[in-house]
Symmetry: C2
Subunit: 485 residues, 2 copies
């Protein structure tokens, strides 16, 4: 059973809501007197108006307000697809992007917090367009649908289904019994950190425009930047440190901040995933810094650490900012960064990828297999932190990892049809799927996606969405069971 | 409980048995009057004699003949480690290899049927040494320990434990109630096919030496060749076709041949894994051939198909022969071959990698997850062919895949310490782990492993063994539970 009328109605409201959020860059286009951008935003409003009139007036009210699991997946996936479709209009209609495929890629990259760009040159674009682009990062970070649930009247069961289909990680933390309250808490923490980062960046000498756009893409683990050479453009150790810190903040489980605010600070530091997450960051940062200083890539160990700690945080949290062209780093440091492609941020964070907790669970599952072989009649459980994972959860985690890798590898084969070499295709596929945004080869920190044919840009947009919604929310729509009776 | 005395005794017998098999190349060294090689073999015999005297005479008979699961893992892993240690002596002691690390790498690559070589130039080596090198391929293909079990008096439970720890695939086919008979059947089929291939190659104009050595490495899905430019050296479409056919034979489940011989031919063609395995081969061969002919890499579609069918079979079955330098093929064809790095041969075959059946199971597990999301209260089973897989088997399959990928990625980081670029490190790690033997970058079809520092050669030997024994048989020895009480 799919409640089409209700689903379309929700979609239309979310679209109106996106239009409301687009008022900010629209105002900026007037403020900066960017006529092309103004035209772009107005065409987008026209599109949204037509879409919403048709769905709200012609289709009419649903007979029942009951939503099923399928409606959740459908609404969330369609929200992302359609929100991107309308949000991309200003980019294409303003002439800032060469075509609509490129604009769609860019905004899907924005909402999914991938941060991969088709722009070879960024700084010449209208400031209002670049602001909107960074703003999509921020909106996608905590989830468009989650924000909608937080702001609108309680949706009851529907709200839970929607948030469940959009949130990341193998298990869903219930902060409060009511999903609306959970959504409000998550977004409040997110806004709080964003406010703090902006202030700190302005304090470091950035103007408000730069500070806000950088914050948008940091807190969302997203990676767009209004500068051609990413965060490296600011050339400031202070900015690097602030951004590194907030990238790490964005890649941790937001439920932990709620726990900390509720006074349960000791339980935060006992969290298994957080410790492994920070441990990986420290390990890779230090070892890369050691090689970078030994190889004289940078002047001193501390200068090396500045760059390695930033780049490690950037890829581990799947942010994708750059302060260094790491494809010229020595092989081992590059390989360490590549290793992070198979990990990702934490569950319940703004980060993408497989998520640290799934990797931890997989390694513990491997250990349980070893014990099983030593004591064939024993039964071994997998505990992560204080929780024992049930067998069906283990199956779902390991299946996720398998399907994730297979999707990435098949994605690389599709991308190779563009003629891109193996390392470019492979890292392009995984950087889209993991919402990382930068990779190796032609899609390294100084590269971009402009060279891909249109249809592969659409395919990459699909990969980004599949990754952001953790595979199954999207894949489920391709199952014939979904469309049965 | 580990029955050390029994385990060491078994090891000594297997070592004696390896010495017995070394009589063939030793005889060849006399026949070809290769003095250096003769010396090499004699030193190896001396080593084996000392080892066996110590273990058989000094340690004495075990008190009980009872073996436990742990003994199986210990004996099998040690057999491979020690058999390689002694078998590598002739290579190093004859001066044919620059050092013992290289010789050990080469023989581990031989027994594990990896087929990766440290030799930049092959044809100048003593023929008896090259014969022994190819012979290790053949011995490893169906399993050294399995051969031992087949030839010696019945070992009862011990035999099952040993064969279980050495055989590949998520489930073990029991052809007959007695493990000794199963071992005899498998080895007989293997010898039968080998005999047939040798005759067909001689019929195609190869001399007996070339025909036998090529057969050794084909039937084992192993990939050593006595020619510098691998199978391409023969420059014969007939040879290419024969080798392609027997590579495909070696990468299929040998239990199917037993079924066919028992008259159950219809059940063979209904086998799910076989159909997918051949399907992947046909799909990749044809699509690569289409691109190769469109891009004018080769003259015609059929010439393209000759090379693509060979190379696809070579990498899918994890043989690693080459008739083309595919790193110069267009990107998509290369990516298709790279995709095969994540698949591998069939369960119960001579091939390595993840195995087709595990990939099939993973995809079906993904589908079951989708159904679960559509009908949250339903219970969905995973069926492969005619069998429903139990949940613990699914956990073990998906865990295997996860640990396999993580091992490969961490392996790539270790190999990158040599300074090798990303694609070289990544493919070197996975070609060792999957026992494939050829990859991309510096370890492509015309490359070799000579450039690696000694300690990384040892690390690669470890990866090959871990892959050949399907991770857990080796990893279990690193678990503290293994060594407890
Ligand atoms: K990103
Ligand atoms: K091989």
């Amino acid at each position: 059973m799919i409640n089409w009328k209700l689903d379309l109605r929700l979609l239309a409201f979310i679209e109106l809501f996106i239009g409301f959020l687009m008022l900010i860059p629209t105002a900026l286009s007037f403020r900066y007197q960017e006529a092309d951008a103004m035209r772009g935003f107005l065409i987008a409003y026209l599109g949204i108006a037509i879409f919403c009139s048709i769905t709200l007036i012609l289709i009419g009210k649903p007979k029942t307000k009951t939503m099923y699991a399928r409606d959740g997946y459908l609404v969330v996936t369609l929200t992302w697809v359609i929100a991107t479709a309308f949000s991309a209009i200003p980019l294409a209609a303003s002439g800032a992007y060469v075509d609509y495929s490129s604009a769609y890629f860019e905004i899907m990259s924005g909402f999914t917090t991938t941060g991969a760009t088709v722009l070879p040159e960024i700084e010449s674009l209208p400031k209002s367009i670049l602001f909107w682009r960074s703003q999509t990062n921020w909106l996608g970070g905590m989830g468009i649908v989650v924000l909608f649930v937080a702001l609108l009247p309680a949706l009851g069961v529907s709200g839970s289904l929607l948030v469940g289909a959009e949130s990341v990680g193998p298990t869903k933390d219930k902060l409060t019994p009511k999903i609306k309250n959970t959504a409000i808490i998550l977004w409040s923490i997110y806004i709080g950190f964003s406010f703090l980062q902006t202030i700190l960046l302005v304090f470091g000498g950035l103007n408000w425009y730069d500070a806000i756009t950088v914050t948008f893409s940091t807190m969302a683990a997203a990676g767009f930047c209004v500068k051609n050479s990413s965060i490296g453009a600011f050339g400031s150790a202070y900015v690097d440190i602030v951004v590194t810190f907030f990238m790490l903040v964005s890649g941790a489980n937001f439920a932990l901040y709620y726990k900390a605010l509720s006074g349960k600070i000791s339980s935060v530091f006992k969290d298994g995933e957080l410790r492994v997450y920070l441990g990986i960051w420290a390990f890779v940062s230090v070892f890369a810094a050691l090689q970078l200083s030994f190889s004289s890539t940078y002047g001193s160990f501390f200068e090396s650490l500045r760059y390695s700690a930033f780049q490690t945080a950037s890829i581990l949290t799947t942010t994708g900012f750059a302060t260094a062209n790491y494809v010229h780093w020595p092989a081992f440091s590059q390989a360490l960064l590549f290793l992070l492609f198979f990990i990702g941020g934490s569950a319940g964070s703004a980060g993408g990828g497989v998520k640290v907790i799934r990797i931890v669970a997989l390694i513990k599952m491997g250990r349980a297999q070893l014990k099983q072989r030593i004591h064939p009649r024993g039964v071994f459980q997998v505990r992560v932190g204080q929780t024992t994972f049930r067998e069906d959860l283990l199956v779902s985690i390991a299946t996720f990892f398998g399907v994730y890798i297979l999707t990435g590898v098949v994605g690389a084969v599709v991308i190779s049809l563009s003629g891109a070499d193996l390392i470019t295709s492979f890292s392009a596929s995984f950087l889209c799927l993991g919402n990382i945004g930068i990779g190796f080869g032609e899609v390294g920190p100084t590269g971009n996606f402009a060279f891909l044919p249109s249809w592969i840009k659409w395919f990459c947009s699909f990969l980004m969405l599949v990754g952001r919604l953790e595979l199954f929310t999207v894949y489920v729509l391709f199952s014939k069971h979904f469309w049965k009776h």
